[in-house]
Each structure stands twice: as C-alpha cells, then as structure tokens.
C-alpha cells in the first residue's frame, strides 16, 4: 500500500512519460529503503535520470553510496521502495514484482564473471538463448559471432577454468549481449582485474559498444574509467544515495587510451575527484 501511495504522489508531481519517448531508460524519483528489525537504512533517495538510446552513462560514487543497489533495481533483482523505472516507456516494477517481459530485454554484467564452470565458453555465452528456447543451430551461430565480437575466437570449446580473469569477463559480456539487450547494465565489471587488463578491457568495451550500439549503464568507483567510457558521468553521494551532479563528457569516439593524457581529460577527472573527496568532510 505504502509503495503505491508513494508512487502516486511521485507521479502526481510529474507527468507520465509517453511510451513513444526516445528515452531508453527513465528513472523517476527512485528510492530504496532497507528495513530490518535493528536498522533502517535509506540507501537511495529521489533518483531521477533519463538515458537516451545508444548512450553510455557511468555512475560513480564512494563504496556504500548505493550504486550497486541502483543497478540491482535496474536489473530487476531488487525492488525499489519508491518511484518508477521505465525501460522504453514500460514499467519494470509493478510494486515489488518485476515484469519479466521487460527483464528479459536487459543484459547484466556483474563484478564477478559468474560463469557456469560446467559449460564451455560457447555454452555459457548461449545460455540466455537456451533458456529462451532458441534452436541449437541458432545458439551456435550466435555464440561464434559473439565470441568473435569480444575477441575470444578459438576459445569457444574451452572451459571457464582455462581462462584468465579478463577473458572470463569477456565471456560474461558476450553472454549479456546474447539476447541483443535493449539495455546493458554493468556493475564494476572490471573491478577485480589488474590495472593493465582493465585498461585494455575499457578500450575493448568501447569498441563492443560502438559495434552493437548498445545503451549502457556502467557502475564503477574508478573515476578515470568512468570518464573514459561515459557520455555522461553521474556522481552519487551516500547516506542516502542522491545524484550530486551529472557531468557530460564530450570527447570524440572512438576514444584512444591516449585521450587520458589530454589536459581536458585530466581536468574533468580532477574535478570529479575533488567532488568525491569533498563529501568526506
């Protein structure tokens, strides 16, 4: 009941967006509270954001600012306590139940690759298609195509244990792309990788994204990564998580790794870093 009330009050303030709007993803007054017997945590409050088709949005913030909570709500894993999440104008959540027809159009990449060790690389990539009931033939073709896209040609028959951390994460990205998702959600996908691999994966991700024209929400705590990849960088502040600022990043694409040495790039990173450090005081 209370969720509905909050929802109604939020919708009363704003006009309902038309389904035909160009927005890929729209968040309207999204909030999340965790209630347990002992504690009551206000994780996120009044998050409103519109993401256009083909846009790459990075979300940064200190650990504990609710970025992962936000992403889990977008992925249909955690229900919001307030507000609305619209994917191409369709509501993802009905109260605390998720609309599975909307969820099945999302691709999610987690911090851990979370591959299934009993399946080969190709089988892991094609798992979403298998769950959907695609034919074996289609699955094989698509798996080969995606393996090529993420630079894993020749490894289709390998098993996850035979791959390095970066390669596993590539498989996870390919798996998320298998259903040609309308929206790709990534939760610190390169957080567990070493700095060099991470840098290479950033360039790779940009290439993959340009090739698929995917819309991406990318959560990270690495400012350089956020600026390098993002068309916009959303800065969240903690307790409760709120949007502090949204910074547009104007560098031409494709961006080479050298863009990071440009003075303007450095200035943006510095500006965001200061903003992040300010909150600690």
């Amino acid at each position: 009941m209370s969720t509905r009330d909050t929802l109604a009050s939020v919708l009363g303030v704003r006009d309902l967006p038309l389904p035909a709007s160009a927005a890929k993803l729209e968040l309207i007054g999204v909030g999340k509270e965790f209630r347990t017997k002992r504690a009551h945590t206000h994780a996120l409050s009044d998050i409103s954001l519109t993401i256009d088709d083909g846009e790459f949005v990075s979300v940064i913030g200190q650990s504990g600012c609710g970025k992962t909570t936000l992403l889990r709500m977008l992925a249909g894993l955690l229900s919001p306590s307030a507000g609305q999440i619209l994917v191409e104008g369709r509501s993802l959540w009905q109260g605390s139940t998720v609309d599975s027809s909307v969820v099945s159009q999302l691709g999610v990449v987690f911090q851990e690759a979370n591959l299934f060790p009993w399946y080969s690389v190709a089988e892991n990539i094609a798992l979403p298609l298998r769950l959907r009931g695609d034919s074996k033939r289609d699955r094989q073709d698509r798996a080969r195509e995606l393996a090529e896209l993420v630079g894993l040609t020749g490894f289709e028959k390998s098993y996850p244990r035979e791959l390095s951390g970066g390669m596993r994460q590539r498989v996870a990205i390919a798996r998320a792309l298998a259903i040609r998702p309308k929206l790709l959600l990534m939760d610190e996908p390169f957080g567990a990788l070493d700095a060099l691999t991470r840098e290479r994966m950033n360039v790779e991700l940009q290439r993959i994204r340009l090739a698929t024209n995917a819309t991406v929400v990318f959560v990270t705590h690495d400012i350089t990564e956020a600026v390098f990849l993002g068309d916009r960088v959303v800065h969240l502040t903690p307790r409760p998580g709120r949007i502090r600022q949204i910074r547009s990043i104007g560098f031409e694409r494709p961006r080479g790794i050298d863009v990071q040495t440009e003075p303007e790039f450095g200035a943006i990173v510095r500006e965001l870093r200061h903003a992040l450090q300010d909150e600690e005081d």
């Binding site: 249909g76 894993l77 999610v108 299934f116 060790p117």
Partner: protein
C-alpha cells in the same frame, strides 16, 4: 608426462617393498605362521580360496548387500539432503536429532537388527544404508546451500524459471558435493555390511572372516581380507568413475586428470 606416470610406478614399488619387509620381518623374528603367515603362504591360500565357488557366492552376497544399502542411502540421502538444504526451518528443527543420531555408534545397533530382521541379508543392507546415509545427506545439504549467489543472480537476471534454475544451476553445482558424499558413503556401506556379517548369519565375506578365524587359519584369513579390500577398491573406483563421467569440469576431477597444470 613423468608426473602422470608417478602413481603407476610408486604404488607397485611401495607394495613390493611392503611385501619384502613383511617376509623379512617374519623370518628374522621367527614368528609363528599361525600369528603372521609369510606372504607366499598367504598367496597360496588366496589362490586356493579364489578357486572355491563358495567364495564367489559369499563375495556376491557381500557385494549385493553393500550396493543395495548404498543405493538406499543414496536415494534417502539426496532426498533428505535437498529438503533440509532448501527448507531452513526444518533443518533448524531437526538439527539436534540429526546430530544425536550421527553420534550414536550405529554399529552397536547390529544385534537389534538381527533380532528384528533375522540373520539374512536384510539386516546387513539396513546397516550399510545407515552408515552410508549420513555422509551423503550432509554433503547434499551443504551442496544445495552452496549455490553461488552471483550465479543465482545471473539466472534471475535472465528471467529463468524454477525448473531452468534447477536444471542449469542447482543440480550441476550440487553434484560435486553429492559425489564427495558418495565416495565416503560407499566405503561406509562396506564397513556396515561386514560388521553386520561378523555378528550374524552364515554368508558373506564378513562371515568368512569369522569362520577362518575360528579355524585358526591365518593364511585364509589374510586371503579373505585381501578379497574384501579388492571389493572395496572396485566399488570405490566405480563411484569415482561415475564422478569423472558426470562432473568432468570439476576441480576434483580435472586436477586428477592433468597434473601438469
């Protein structure tokens, strides 16, 4: 390559060394062959025992009892383990009873089973099932609990049905635990059968052990013990072989297969 061959070289070498030491020990200390026969005497006795058809009948009975008990333990252990692993409150409610029944020395129950089920195969099958049940049940329960949260998230984000989640994730990730339980379980099942045969009845290799002891026929006693060990090894390797077939992707299997990694 060299490391792959190592167990195939080391095992026979150690066995040969053991037999030689055994022989030297008996001769040097001039031990009565009634107490510890020489390896060669045991070998002759073994050849003799193996040639008797009655021995094979006893072995067949012991094998049947063990496999029967093990299969019952497997069915019950998987069923109970899955339920207790899934239903938290049930596990909490039953935990004291489970711990208590584990601590009870179950071998002490054999005389009761003899009273209830007679001297036939039933009492042995039940004994072996009881011993094999716990390791299987506990491992399955642990396996059901140990499905990784991240992999569950993947299935949820793919909008997988309960059946799909079970088939692609829960079943596969519980299997290594079930096999770990089965490897212990099959050994326990043999112990249960043999103890059962010691204490009641007139058939099976366990009974043969008791009879050769009563005859004070030490070489034959050794021969039967060797047969029992062979039966144990055979059953263990069958379970191990099934494991290699069903979960070739698991660390416990592939690290056995290619040690060079």
């Amino acid at each position: 390559m060299a490391r792959k061959l190592l167990p195939w070289l080391s095992t026979p070498l150690i066995l040969v060394a053991f037999v030689v030491l055994w022989d030297v020990f008996v001769r040097v200390n001039d031990i009565d062959e009634l107490v510890l026969p020489r390896p060669l005497t045991v070998w002759h006795s073994l050849v003799e025992v193996v040639q008797k058809p009655a021995t094979w009948e006893h072995a067949r009975i012991t094998g049947t009892e063990t496999v029967g008990g093990f299969l019952i333990a497997l069915a019950c252990g998987v069923a109970v383990g899955v339920v207790l692993g899934k239903v938290r409150w049930m596990e909490r409610g039953l935990r004291p009873l489970i711990v208590a029944s584990q601590v009870v020395p179950k071998v002490a129950l054999v005389p009761l089973f003899v009273i209830w089920f007679g001297f036939g195969m039933t009492s042995k099958v039940i004994m072996s099932a009881m011993l094999a049940f716990f390791p299987i049940m506990l491992n399955v329960q642990l396996g059901v609990r140990s499905v990784e949260a991240g992999q569950r998230d993947v299935m949820r984000s793919l909008d997988a049905s309960r059946w799909q989640t079970f088939k692609h994730l829960e079943l596969k990730s519980t299997m290594p635990y079930a096999f770990a339980g089965m490897e212990v379980g099959i050994v326990f099942a043999i112990i249960g059968t043999i103890v059962g045969e010691y204490l009641g009845g007139n058939e099976g290799l366990g009974y043969l052990v008791v009879r050769t002891l009563n005859d004070l026929d030490a070489p034959a006693l050794f021969a039967v013990i060797i047969l029992l060990s062979a039966l144990g090894l055979l059953l263990y390797f069958i379970v191990n072989g099934l494991k290699r077939f069903f979960i070739p992707w698991h660390e416990s299997v592939y690290s056995q297969l290619d040690v060079n990694r």
